[in-house]
Amino acid sequence: MNALLEQFLLESRDLIAEGTRGLIALERSPEDGELVVGVFRVFHTLKGSSGVFGIQPMTRMLHAAEDMLAAIRDGRTPIDPALIDTLLECLDQTARWLDDLEVRDGLSDDADGMAAGLIRRLRGDDAAATAPPDAPEFDDPGIFSEAERSAAIEALRGQAEGTSIFRVVYQPDPRCFFNGDDPLKLIAGLPGLAALRISPQGDWPALETLDPFRCDMRIDALAIGEEAAIRHAFRLVADQVRIAEVPLRALSPQLSPGPKSDDIVGAVLAEQRLLLASTDTPPGEVAGRWGSAAAAAANALRYEGGNGHAAAVAAALAEAVERHDPSPLFRALDQAVQGRQSPGTAAASQSAPSAPASRSLRVEEQRVDRLFALVGEMIVAKNTLGWLAGRTAEAAGAGDIVRPLRDLHALVERLTRDMHDAVVRIRMVPVGQVFDRFPRLVRDLSLRLGKPVDLLVEGEGTSADKTVVEALFEPLLHLVRNSLDHGIEPPEMRRGAGKPERATVTLRAFHAGDRVVVEVSDDGGGIDIAAVGRKAVDSRVLGEDELGALSEAETARLIFAPGLSTMDETSDLSGRGVGMAAVRMAIERIGGAVGVETVRHRGTTIRLELPLTLALLRIVTVSARGRRFGVPLDVVAETIRLSDDRIRRIRGRAAFTWREQVVPLHPLGRILELPEARDPLSGSGGDRLVLVVDAGGGGGFFGLEVDGIGDRLEVALRPMDGLLGNIPAYLGTTLQGDGQVLLILNPKELPP
């Protein structure tokens, strides 16, 4: 992609986010003049840059929106939610168009129609009649070859003023032959015909149903001439013809990219300095030259928002002219150049739409991902080195080499770990990236539900690994929808309960140790814990007696159990009974944990605890029925050998006693339904190998029976994606030293 377009996309997306925030704030405080000016500037800048790229529907639409905002600014139009809605939609549409531009270098076919529709809505329906009448897709000359288009441009050269290239689409009436029309003769007689395409209007019918007396064609043409002359040629069939002037740019072959435009302002300033420095100027031209140099420099500075420097240059000009000495101008220019290079001093740019000037580098995501993947491979190689060192130690007569090999392994291990940490740090992004999407969502939801809600966002600068932050959106969306839909009471109920009608939902993020905590709180009705318990028993999530043994907090946690919903009816917004379980699974998949705190009539807080980074995972390899798997060591409480006589049958299920508690025993091969191998070991009367696994979430322990236990390894986990991403039994995969892929189990999800 062209670097300029890339920059345009980047900045425009920032502007859209800024504009969305501004509009939502404006809806709340319509009297805030600064907000209006801020939003106006966003639309103005977007329009300006879209014009630079010749994206006409976008420019037209943004122009109309800008007019509307000017009217608001000048007090000619009041702000109402419908208008805010339309302006937000303009930004949404702009965002979609930017996506189109990014993937296929052009707008979608319906762009003109979309723009016209939004413009009509911006101006109110009464202005509909004055909307641009031009049909969409129409001025796109893309169906003509580049050679035809170049020839048309060539033919236009040397034509009289007022001559243009016109696009003609002629779709003759199917019964035109009976009216005495001859479309081909008509088009052949078109003055200045430059390119022609004839095609059927739709698919051809089968031969036996084809009606040869029916005219089924569409004629596309380019014609060079004056509009009146071209219209005249079609005067008898005017209702079947569309004619529009083609913007020359649309016909031009792709122009080669010009000079690097990164720092036009800098180049312009430098050029003015050269202009001022030239010595052989006739005396009569000096004032004009200095004046033009000062004007050009001041404009360039103003373009960047450096109004202070611009004013200084203008003042220096007066002084220079008075003293017949350009040095004040040189000084002012040099100061301006310095001011640009060290922002923060003097007049820093007020208009730069970029994020606060932190000294950061924008790097393409793929590059960092590539680095991350490479480090992952290095860890694999490092593990292979460890394995090799081990083999060498076993081999006889290798005494001298074992020690340096082990040292080297230790060094490489340290280096890869540091490198992994460093890369992981690059991948840290603020959770604000995800939080930013919620003000808009909450606004729209709250309007739809008729529940006024304020969204508070705290700690949006808290950062975590990109994967973690990206994986947060869906769960947070679930939680916020739940809060608005089920948590927050209707306004009349809140009034009755003595609460403020306007509810508050808070998104909060903070660091706690090596974890990042993200909370969604509402001041709604809280969760009916008794109802959750009843529902859990009804849904056979647990038995009546088991429920009795649970504390309130433990009962509340049951909302995360699969197959449980406390809502009797589902709505289109949320609640199909899988919501909270899905949230829990999504969070656990990235190594996190969920929690809930709720107080009846006071509100609910859902707490997500997430790893800060995807650090290296320590695993132990196990085998079952001839296959190898990895088990994260952090869930393994102990590895034990069990003789058969310690295994008891309790209600038909195998269990054993471990640290004075009864622990169920599950063979891994059976859980995963692996095909029965010859199974040479377990029948041989030896002890069974069992990992005692902490099921987490107060679920107690269980024993995982395996056929063999292998190495302990440190691995870079690759989360599963695509279809496999939905299998809860696996956390992900990792590459082994021998190049094989090892599946890492998620033992918390294993018991059947």
Partner: protein, 130 residues
């Protein structure tokens, strides 16, 4: 924002109608107001009777070429003499840029200029987006 006219005015000075059309299309789409002159004499008449924010000037033109126009412009009395001028010429080379500068040009671009570059330079030289 309020004290400056919303659309800067640009005078295109070029004898090629195709070029003028192309510049006009591009600049108008970018929000500029555009007037045209086909040679230096016509351009001089225009800048002395109307207010402009920028002149975009070709070098090779009949009757009065770009260099002569710029010298004549800079020699005028009054505000018009200080009109910023952007020279866009098909002559690439440092010598031509220097010659344009010597005649009083404020910036120099070599054809072909992409729409984006044209609009950006016009915006910078007129201080448009501030």
């Amino acid at each position: 924002m309020a004290d400056r006219p919303a659309s800067p005015r640009i005078l295109i000075v070029d004898d090629g109608s195709l070029i003028r059309l192309y510049y006009r299309e591009t600049l108008e789409a970018a929000g500029f107001e555009v007037a045209e002159a086909i040679n230096g004499i016509e351009a001089l008449e225009k800048v002395l009777s109307e207010r402009f924010d920028l002149a975009i000037v070709d070098i090779n033109m009949p009757k009065m070429n770009g260099m002569s126009f710029l010298r004549a412009l800079r020699g005028q009395q009054g505000e018009a003499a200080a009109l910023p001028a952007l020279v866009i010429s098909s002559e690439a080379g440092e010598r031509d840029a220097a010659a344009a500068r010597a005649a009083g040009a404020n910036f120099y671009l070599v054809k072909p200029v992409t729409p984006a570059d044209l609009a950006l330079h016009a915006a910078v030289l007129t201080g448009m987006l501030a």
